[in-house]
């Protein structure tokens, strides 16, 4: 059964088109309101997430949030494991930022968000896992949900091939979803068709192009089934 929802706003960072100003000046502008004591804790991936998510939230307006990342900041954990292997003491700050919900936690601290926040690490299901979580919150009565996908290239140590689970760049996509109201009417559904369109880091680009483009439908196949997203759907 298709699940209908409204896409109220979305933003991707870095922007799809180079002329949209993805230079550091623009990133600095998007991060200008982050207090400096917290800004020092933002890694390049965290900054990317903030740049996308900040564009979907109005100042002082909080939403329940769902974050989704296949690998999170695995590079940080890997770096610490290398240090442990050589007998070096690891940095408490690096340790605190290596957990999967670190970026979501920093985002909540920066904006003072006290609403619910879930962080998922999807495998084969890719983007669908975060959508299911967010649509579940809407179903439970949340008026809007902020859904944020992000990933960065996997540390070279890990064998990414032949799996389709790494990307060549840092990317974050933020979506503001609602059950009703103004925006793009969309639907998510499942079919039995199988295939392999890769995991979230690979799917992110296809999904962003779908949102930006004129195509009304996107199918992402997994080894178990496929997920279908439709645009221009009438609201319930």
């Amino acid at each position: 059964m298709p699940q209908n929802f409204i896409l109220q706003k979305w933003a991707v960072w870095p922007p799809l088109h180079a002329d949209a100003g993805q230079g550091p000046a623009n990133q600095n502008a998007l991060l200008a309101k982050v207090p400096s004591l917290l800004k020092r804790r933002l890694t390049p991936l965290a900054k990317t997430v903030f740049c996308a998510a900040n564009q979907c939230l109005d100042d002082g307006h909080f939403l329940p949030m769902v974050f989704s990342s296949t690998h999170g900041e695995l590079g940080k954990s890997f770096g610490m494991m290398e240090m442990l292997a050589t007998g070096e003491e690891i940095s408490p700050t690096a340790f605190s930022l290596s957990v999967h919900n670190a970026i979501a936690g920093l985002f909540s601290m920066v904006w003072g968000n006290k609403l619910q926040c879930t962080v998922v690490a999807p495998g084969e299901e890719g983007l669908a896992a975060g959508f299911i979580e967010a649509l579940g919150l809407l179903q439970e009565g949340a008026e809007q949900v902020l859904l944020v996908f992000y990933d960065e290239p996997l540390v070279a140590f890990y064998p990414a091939a032949p799996f389709k689970l790494s990307t060549d760049k840092c990317c974050a996509l933020a979506l503001c979803l609602a059950k009703t109201g103004a925006g793009q009417g969309m639907a998510l559904s499942l079919s039995a068709m199988t295939g392999d369109d890769g995991e979230q880091p690979v799917q992110l680009e296809a999904f962003t192009r779908f949102l930006a483009g004129s195509s009304a439908r996107l199918v992402l196949k997994t080894p178990r089934h496929s997920w279908h997203w439709k645009k221009n759907v009438q609201a319930d």
Binding site: L37, R40, E89, P92, T93
Partner: protein, 85 residues
């Protein structure tokens, strides 16, 4: 300002990534936590590690009065001096 205090200020700035702050702007008597510089508990752990690496002085949360030692640059310097002697 003692040489050790100066060194500690530099260590605080470097180990805690305080890019916007310079040695001159940290007052030795100023509170490091709870107001003042506004550092948090993770900073305390990070600073404890940096001090252990640089001065080979261990601040033991079980034995030492951590709140007093971490109160300011001056109190940190005093503790390191006394441990080294």
């Amino acid at each position: 300002m003692s040489r050790l205090e100066n060194e500690l200020k530099q260590l605080i700035i470097e180990s805690l990534d305080l890019e916007d702050i310079s040695v001159d702007t940290i007052d030795s008597q100023e509170a490091l936590f709870n107001g003042g510089l506004g550092l948090d508990s993770i900073d305390a752990l990070e600073l404890g590690l940096a001090i252990r690496k640089k001065y080979n002085v261990r601040i033991d949360a079980e034995k030492d009065d951590v709140v007093k030692i971490f109160a300011s640059v001056a109190s940190l310097a005093e503790f390191i001096e006394s441990e080294r002697n």
